[in-house]
């Protein structure tokens, strides 16, 4: 990639010339959360810039949508963000339902939210676990992954897949909850919820860990909004905004949950630690939501009758879904045929990657790892 405009000269006080280094990080790097590359310009350990070079995982998902039709695109949405595919399913289902004016049966909505919130727990566990691992703590990662496996087992019981679920359909979900599912999930939640406190004891307030994250790459609220940071990254700046609560969709208005925000408790407001701790707190909220859904879920069908060849009227529709990596924008243009005319997916990781260049200026190279991990970037979601 061209680096025109990013050259700079380093002049030391004692007259000795120093040289800036151009380092390559990635595309295969254990801490880059997928295949992405940074061109780092550094003066010793201090970075001048870290320019993200993306596109390695560009599978032209948006273009594929134009060829496979509305129903056929559902499995592809799993691959947009394979760490938390449920919300991608939901985003696509919701935008098609909005474009075509389809009503989802009430039980179907509950199934969706249960699946999505379990997916959020799994995603945040991976995010938190890999973040600790990137910074050098191996053990907590295994603790997080152990619990994530249990969530994956639950999701496997629900839809037969552990990663790319293809669970939702336009008009509802593919299958009802299996028999005894509520008991299974409740047993997991009973066992899991006390562990959140354990994570805090083990990792969150560990002195070494806090020192690595506090005051690193702080983002102000205004900056975050201007760069369109979303989800936990936005809430980490102390701004209480959650699409589930503030632009409610599905059955979220009926549910009671808090929106945790960063408070700058160990350093500057909006630093890496704040983004991290918001995810830990959200684990608890997701547990709360799943419990409520299991209590409130009504009987009835889970899937509305939808035409096999869905042809939404000419026009466009846009929905926003609170995915694990924040507000995900789904835009679909229909020309009245059975194929979407254009699909656009704006993901949370995409906005998060675009701010890396700005945040990386003047921080240590080692802190770049903490920064990327705290932004919870998932590379396939950036490239689509």
């Amino acid at each position: 990639m061209s680096l025109a405009g990013y050259e700079f000269e380093v002049q030391r006080d004692d007259g000795l010339a120093t040289e800036e280094m151009t380092l390559n990080m990635g595309p295969q790097h254990p801490s880059t959360h997928g295949v992405l590359r940074f061109v780092v310009k550094a003066d010793g350990e201090i970075m001048r810039t870290a320019l993200p070079d993306i596109g390695y995982l560009h599978r032209s998902i948006e273009k594929i949508s134009e060829k496979v039709g509305y129903h056929g695109f559902m499995p592809y949405t799993d691959r947009v963000d394979y760490v938390s595919a449920m919300q991608c399913n939901q985003g696509w289902a919701m935008v098609c339902e909005r474009a075509a004016g389809i009503e989802v049966p009430r039980r179907g909505e509950f199934c969706r939210i249960i699946a999505c919130e379990l997916g959020r727990i799994a995603s945040h566990l991976l995010s938190v676990g890999t973040m600790v691992m990137d910074i050098g703590g191996m053990t907590p990662f295994t603790h997080a992954i152990r619990e994530r496996e249990k969530v994956n087992n639950l999701l496997e019981d629900l839809c037969g897949a552990r990663l790319t679920f293809n669970y939702m359909r336009i008009g509802g979900v593919a299958w009802d909850l299996p028999p005894g599912y509520a008991e299974q999930v409740t047993a997991f939640l009973d066992q899991f919820e006390p562990l959140i406190a354990e994570y805090n004891d083990l990792i969150s307030y560990n002195k070494i860990y806090v020192e690595r994250l506090a005051n690193v790459a702080a983002v102000s609220k205004e900056e975050a909004i201007n760069y369109n940071l979303v989800g936990p990254n936005l809430r980490g700046c102390g701004f209480q905004y959650d699409v589930r609560r503030d632009e409610p969709y599905s059955i979220y208005p009926e549910l009671d949950f808090d929106v945790p925000v960063g408070t700058g408790e160990v350093g500057t407001l909006g630093d890496c630690f704040d983004r991290y701790i918001v995810r830990i707190k959200e684990l608890k909220e997701s547990c709360k939501i799943v419990r409520q859904c299991l209590d409130m879920i009504p009987d009835g069908p889970v899937l509305a009758r939808v035409a096999k060849k869905l042809k939404p009227p000419v026009g466009d529709a846009h929905v926003r879904v609170e995915a694990s990596r924040g507000d995900m924008g789904w835009y679909v243009v229909s020309d009245g045929s059975e194929f979407p005319y254009r699909t656009k997916i704006r993901t949370g990781s995409f906005s998060a990657m675009s701010i890396v260049d700005k945040l990386s200026r003047g921080i240590m190279i080692a802190d770049l790892i903490a920064l990327i991990a705290s932004l919870d970037v998932v590379a396939p979601e950036v490239d689509r």
Binding site: N226, S351, S354
Partner: protein
């Protein structure tokens, strides 16, 4: 504010820039002249009653039959919790419009993506390079008349059908 009120306020200030307003669409939108997009967006962003502080989504759509490319901006205000869609049409032959990067930083990568996939040139953009496709790629894949090249650096793009 409702979309109609937003449009009214925009009409008062930048009436000559607006070519259409569709209140009955699923997401009500204003269609504006592409040349005046920066002034309109600057006003939408700065006006305290509108305060569209967030560009949530920006897409390009190639309308082949109608012979234009449409750039669609989904705006949202965290301050007032209201939304509007702004659309601007550019020609397919020489697609070019001013960049709104100075208004919302989020536009930087979103515009790069549209440039990459649809070939719209955003004048005044600080770093207009391809984002997703390789730098030496020819053509813009999301154009409706895009034809996939036979090969790329000696690698064939043709695959035998698995359904034989």
């Amino acid at each position: 504010m409702s979309p109609t009120e937003i449009h009214q306020r925009l009409q008062d200030q930048h009436g000559d820039a607006i070519t259409a307003f569709e209140a009955d669409a699923l997401d009500p939108f204003v269609l504006i002249k592409s040349d005046s997009i920066v002034e309109v967006c600057r006003f939408l962003h700065d006006d305290p009653d509108l305060a569209f502080d967030c560009l949530t989504n920006m897409s390009g759509v190639d309308f082949l039959k109608e012979d234009y490319i449409q750039v669609v901006l989904h705006l949202y205000s965290y301050t007032h919790r209201h939304a509007i869609v702004v659309k601007a049409n550019v020609s397919r032959e020489e697609p070019s419009m001013p960049s709104v990067e100075a208004v919302w930083k989020a536009a930087n990568w979103l515009e790069r993506e549209i440039y990459d996939l649809l070939g719209v040139v955003f004048t005044g953009h600080s770093d207009l390079r391809r984002l997703l496709m390789p730098e030496d790629w020819v053509g813009h894949p999301l154009r409706k008349d895009f034809v996939e090249p036979e090969e790329y650096h000696g690698i064939s793009t043709r695959r035998e059908s698995l359904l034989k």
